[in-house]
Subunit: 304 residues, 2 copies
């Protein structure tokens, strides 16, 4: 089954203690769709400017991503600049040039409106809602957001949360959104708003997935080399939804596997700048690392 | 099999956003031995002053802890004051009154020198070494330490690390000790110093256990109510070593189970101030929460 993702395609300028990437390919929809493309068909809805090079589109198409919904309009492509210190869990935004993103009006084509899987990457919650209203009978909708929308448009965001099946959010954002320091309480409050399932990303500490009556904890894969955490969250979401769309298994067990596949994808992505690691990645590596996650986390039942 | 623990017995004055405990029972050896006592026999070696009330000793003995090695000398008991903000992962030390601890010279009695399991809680690494030299043929020795000794006595600490089987340390301390921001690299460096196994405590994010060729990740139990993190690390270590001493199973599998039992014990301890939760704890609750850890972390192998 195929996924429609609505989000950003961007240029990123990123500094980490290990190097610098200038005007490299980035954006939430780029990371998401590339990651999901290892599992299923993906259609990307986003906007770029006249300066966006053909080679990036060729790369996306080479991963079998449908780019018919990638609008190109007059102006410059969205550009994000950020910096990471040795604590790679949090980026410091240095500059945000919205450019063509300011006029982004996501319109889904007729075939996209029948999407079974929809991912609303981090954009204005009013736009997320507009997209949501265009999709007829999705099997699963997930969304992401960020601190900027939590503080500037909390009511619009709450409306979106009520309509989606899975909310994917950072730990700090869950606390910010609810004003609750305890993460379990914060998660319960967000679920009480009306979303069925909450996935809390904790950077190098992994992921917690909550429903009203269950919790699943997955660690992040312990890596000796983390070069660039940019896009880790969207890469995670792409693996998560890609796996779900591939299997159609919406059971708790199926969703847990999807969380681990998402974590596997994120663990690869941070090993290099931009999407460089994704470009080299082979499916066998994904399965091998899934098995390593099993080894990493396994312990016996009580045996005495 | 029985464990000998050498560490502190203290009065703590603790503030958290949820309350305040003044001159409550604390100390690394207190938390460790109480936790371990749910699994095995424990002998406690520590020092208190004339002001230490009999009721605390009665409590320890009531948990079947051998207090013959608890010296009482003229002066006041060690007193630690600290405060936690909403980020309960890190305490701010407000005051440390060493008092009788300044003259602490741990001497093991003849029978303690045959201890099969030894835990060197967080004290001066020179004292840890003195204790280590007194024990004849231990099956397993573990030690803890803290930032103060890492910065003031790094060479003495390295000598201790070379002689122990398991080093238990906080995440921040592992980074401080090695000057390495990446935790996996920091762990490898500490193991390269000569200890066989490193357990890295990450507060609400759980624990990583490293050997030269394996990693195990255990989450912390997600709790809605965390009142006081004081003693969580020593309570963890007590559950970990208590379980090992009980089973004698030093395989990777046995050690992983011990990590989870340690995490279970820590998860109970933080639910109330001082050792209040430990006083009410029943063994059935421990087994039930171990099973909940299984549910929390389980996911299927790749099935397609």
């Amino acid at each position: 089954m195929s996924i429609v993702v609505v989000g950003t395609v961007a240029f990123d300028t990123v500094e980490t203690p290990f190097g610098r990437g200038e005007n490299v390919l980035g954006g939430s929809a780029t990371y998401f769709s590339t990651s999901a493309s290892f599992f299923t068909d993906v259609s990307l809805v986003a906007v770029v400017g006249e300066d966006f090079p053909e080679e990036h589109i060729t790369f996306l198409q080479g991963r079998n991503i449908d780019t018919a919904g990638l609008q190109r309009i007059p102006g410059k492509t969205f550009h994000w600049s950020g910096r990471y210190g040795y604590d790679l869990n949090e980026a410091e935004t240095l500059d945000t040039q919205l450019n063509v993103l300011m006029d982004f009006q996501p319109e889904l084509s007729e075939s996209y409106r029948d999407a079974e899987y929809l991912f609303l990457a981090n954009i204005d919650p009013d736009l997320q809602m507009k997209v949501l209203e265009q999709v007829r009978k999705p099997k699963l909708v997930a969304c992401d957001t960020m601190n900027f929308w939590i503080s500037s448009k909390p009511e619009a965001l709450k409306k979106v949360l009520r309509k989606v099946d899975v909310v994917v959010i950072n730990e700090g954002e869950a606390r910010q959104f609810t004003g609750e320091a305890n993460l379990v309480k914060a998660a319960r409050q967000i679920i009480a708003l009306g979303c069925k399932r909450l996935v809390v990303k904790r950077g190098e500490y992994g992921v917690l997935m909550f429903t009203a009556d269950s919790v699943f904890a997955a660690p992040a894969y312990p890596l000796e080399e983390v070069f660039d955490p940019t896009g880790a969250g969207d890469t995670f979401a792409g693996g998560f939804m890609g796996y779900l769309a591939n299997t159609g298994d919406m059971s708790e067990e199926g969703l847990r596997q999807a969380i681990v596949f998402g974590s596997v994808m994120a663990s690869f992505n941070v090993e290099d700048f931009s999407l460089e690691r994704m470009k080299r990645l082979q499916y066998q590596e994904i399965e091998a690392r899934y098995k390593q996650f099993k080894v990493l986390t396994s312990f016996r039942d009580i045996s005495y």
